[in-house]
């Protein structure tokens, strides 16, 4: 018993002399490290984490920006389900995500496959297709887009030459959302570049073997390309889904705070902004923001669940 304790003591004693010195060096390193981190650290604490915690608190209060917040418990969350405009904004956003994400990804993949071939001027085409994404969130772009889809503007005229009379989409409740979906699809640069990288990874031997076996182009695409790049598709799907839930700038320019025409572009983010900064109901707006986070989280979780069924990782034994 005693020997053991004494042993331990000597052990501890033998370690001790080195301990403080080592620790001093470590903590010195740590200090410098934290100092170098400080711009980022201060940023995330003051500008991200702090506001997030505050907004979580505010979501349980009635807060009009002028008077101090009044605790109302879950009231804000309950009211959402009776709020017709909230439900409408959820529907609009869900419809948009359901349309914009697949269309944009399909376009991006198609362009990536075309650009994957060896041909002259490939670099130019890549730049040309990536271009629209660079000016992605710009206000001017949304204004031009709206102008293009007005009465007697480019799109209306083109459609009329093939006998389709829709009038301006910007003022037509049946087409206004589609107009924004097309805007998203046009900005396919980012997923396209990722798809291109994925396509480069597919081993050439697979195609050669398939060709020998007499598989056509479509067959090769379906049975080789798609499964081989499924992790990339999944990655793009996640990214685009999350991004699409947060669309704001273009929708605000096209539809304003009321989601014109007739509330068909009343996105969740637009309604949130309008409630908070237009009606000064910050508590309700904060609660909406947390509901959005929960909603996006659920959708992401769901996507991960389904991914097990269709995403193939090479080296996976399945």
């Amino acid at each position: 018993m005693t020997t053991i304790t004494s042993n331990r003591r000597t052990d501890a004693g033998s370690v001790r002399p080195a301990g403080p010195r080592k620790q001093a060096r470590r903590s010195g390193d740590g200090l410098a490290g934290y100092l170098f981190l400080s711009p980022w650290l201060i940023g995330i604490l003051l500008l991200t984490l702090g506001p997030m915690v505050t907004s979580l608190y505010l979501s349980f209060t009635d807060y009009d920006l002028f008077n101090s917040p009044q605790w109302v418990g879950l009231d804000n969350y309950q009211r959402m389900f009776d709020d017709a405009r909230w439900l409408k904004s959820v529907r609009v956003t869900a419809l948009y995500v359901a349309l914009a994400v697949p269309i944009k990804l399909a376009c991006a993949l198609a362009v990536a496959v075309l650009l994957n071939n060896e041909r002259r001027g490939r670099a130019f085409y890549r730049a040309a297709f990536y271009g629209p994404s660079l000016i992605g969130a710009s206000v001017s772009l949304a204004i031009v887009w709206k102008a293009m889809f007005s009465d007697d503007a480019v799109v209306d005229r083109l459609l009329r030459t093939v006998g389709i009379h829709t009038g301006g989409w910007a003022g037509n409740p049946d087409f206004s959302l589609l107009m924004l979906v097309l805007l998203a699809a046009w900005q396919l640069g980012a997923p396209m570049v990722i798809f291109l990288a994925g396509l480069k990874q597919v081993p050439k031997e697979l195609y050669e073997a398939a060709e020998v076996d007499g598989a056509g182009r479509w067959r090769r695409f379906r049975s080789i390309t798609l499964p081989m790049i499924s992790p990339v598709i999944f990655f793009n799907l996640l990214l685009e889904t999350i991004n699409s839930f947060q669309v704001f700038t273009s929708a605000y320019i096209v539809g304003g705070p009321n989601g014109q025409p007739a509330g068909t572009t009343l996105f969740y983010t637009i309604y949130l902004f309008d409630r908070g900064f237009g009606d000064y109901r910050m508590g309700y707006a904060s609660a909406m923001a947390w509901m959005l986070l929960a909603g996006v989280g659920l959708v992401t979780l769901f996507l991960f669940r389904t991914a097990r069924g269709w995403v193939y990782y090479s080296g996976d034994k399945r």
Binding site: G28, A32, A170, G171, N258, G263, G278
Partner: protein
């Protein structure tokens, strides 16, 4: 190596301390006797900013002890900024106020009561008769009008002539108005519509209510009409839209932010008369201002509305200097000359006399002068939430014209919002 590390650590800490110091320097507080800096915010565009700078320069030469720091935004962004700044205890000393937000801010204790400066640094005795007392809420004075306007009928006489329809005369009724709108559209075969978004204008409803002896909001801040009255208004407007007599809503939505009168798409529209200047600037048509329709002869329902007010933040440390600035902005004849009708027609007699009005502005001034005897008392400042309700009204009327909701649904939706907004 160690030296280098220490050097880096020290510089990092020093730079942090420096930024901290720079942040902390803001709250500098000059004594009342020394030079005073006032922050002054307004909504508007670059044109107005240029005029404002001229007026501010003039003020600063006359009051070398007061320095003005101006800032401006577009109308919607302006209110978002004001709300956040007020919430952050960082509101500007003097800022432009809209009638529909006056109660919102005064009820929330964000505004300084200017009664304390009245007759001293703030001279109000030259205000037009119809504007005296505007900006008053309960017993306090929370805003001073800078300009004023009146609801009127703006129209293009050339279209009337083309359609072979006589121009509107005093005594025309709302039925006459709707019939005229339909007739013009018919006569021009839809090239020019007889009217614009009649049902989407909250102030058309207000005008009708006032002609019937009512109000949009009662003195104690309740809604001044019932569901049946709103349903009647919506039904009449929807009939016009359904008959395609007024400008189709999808067109109106697409041309925003322009107005149909600017693009010669309609024969006439009811609206605030100071917009004449804006419309006239972009169309070749010689627009005119005419009488508003009324079913009740002798009750036109029009009033002189403070187009724009100036308020002082409760948190200001320089109330006297702020009052001086406001007094200068509304009374000084030079300022009147600088602005013309940019802020609406001036609110004081001295400035009105100083402004050399030409073209459409002269028309507006003559119109208001001619109405002088008929203008009735301005309504009490609308309750807080009025801005939200007006937006709601516009939105619902739009969905109604698109045929997305029925009149009953529209009425119910509006009153749900009323309960939600006026009682919270």
């Amino acid at each position: 190596m160690r030296l280098l590390k220490r050097f880096i650590a020290v510089t990092a800490i020093a730079s942090l301390a420096l930024t901290g110091a720079a942040c902390g320097d803001d709250g500098g507080d000059a004594a009342e006797s020394g030079p005073v800096t006032l922050r002054y915010s307004w909504w508007g565009n670059a044109d107005r900013a240029a005029l404002m700078q001229k007026a501010i320069d003039l003020f600063q030469t006359q009051n070398p002890n007061i320095k003005i720091t101006p800032s401006f935004q577009e109308y919607e962004a302006y209110w978002q900024k004001m709300a956040t700044e007020t919430a952050g205890n960082n509101a500007p000393d003097v800022f432009q106020m809209d009638f529909s937000y006056l109660r919102e801010y005064s009820d929330r204790n964000a505004l300084y009561d200017l009664k304390q400066q009245e007759g001293k640094a703030l001279k109000l005795d030259d205000l037009l008769d119809g504007l005296k007392g505007a900006g008053q809420v309960k017993d306090g004075l929370y805003g001073v009008p800078v300009g004023a306007n009146t609801w009127g009928y703006m129209y293009n006489p050339a279209v009337y002539a083309q359609a072979g329809i006589p121009e509107p005369k005093p005594g025309w009724t709302w039925n006459d108005y709707r019939a005229t709108v339909a007739k013009i559209t018919q006569a021009t075969k839809g090239k020019v519509y007889g009217g614009g978004n009649y049902v989407g204008s909250y102030y058309n409803l207000e005008l009708q209510l006032r002609q019937e002896g009512g109000l949009l909001y009662t003195e104690d801040g309740k809604i001044g009409f019932d569901k049946a009255r709103l349903a009647r208004f919506f039904n009449e407007g929807k009939a016009l839209a359904d008959a395609k007599a007024t400008l189709p809503i999808e067109k109106g939505v697409q041309i925003k932010p322009q107005h149909a009168l600017e693009l010669d798409l309609i024969a006439g529209e009811l609206g605030w008369d100071n917009f004449m200047a804006r419309y006239a600037a972009s169309t070749k048509a010689q627009l005119k201002l005419g009488p508003v329709p009324s079913d009740n002869p002798g009750a036109q329902g029009q009033y002189l509305k403070p187009a724009m007010l100036l308020s002082v933040s409760k948190k200001t440390k320089h109330a006297e200097a702020a009052a001086k600035l406001i007094s200068f902005m509304i009374n000084d004849p030079e300022v009147g000359k600088i602005f013309g009708a940019n802020r609406g027609l001036p609110a004081t007699n001295a400035q009105r006399a100083a402004v050399q009005l030409e073209g459409p502005l002269a028309t507006v001034a003559a119109y208001e002068e001619g109405l002088k005897e008929q203008l009735t008392k301005a309504p009490p400042a609308p309750p807080k939430g009025a801005g939200t309700l007006e937006q709601t009204f516009i939105r619902i009327a739009e969905e109604l014209q698109y045929g997305r909701i029925s009149v009953d649904e529209a009425v119910n939706q509006f009153f749900t919002e009323v309960e939600d907004t006026l009682e919270s």
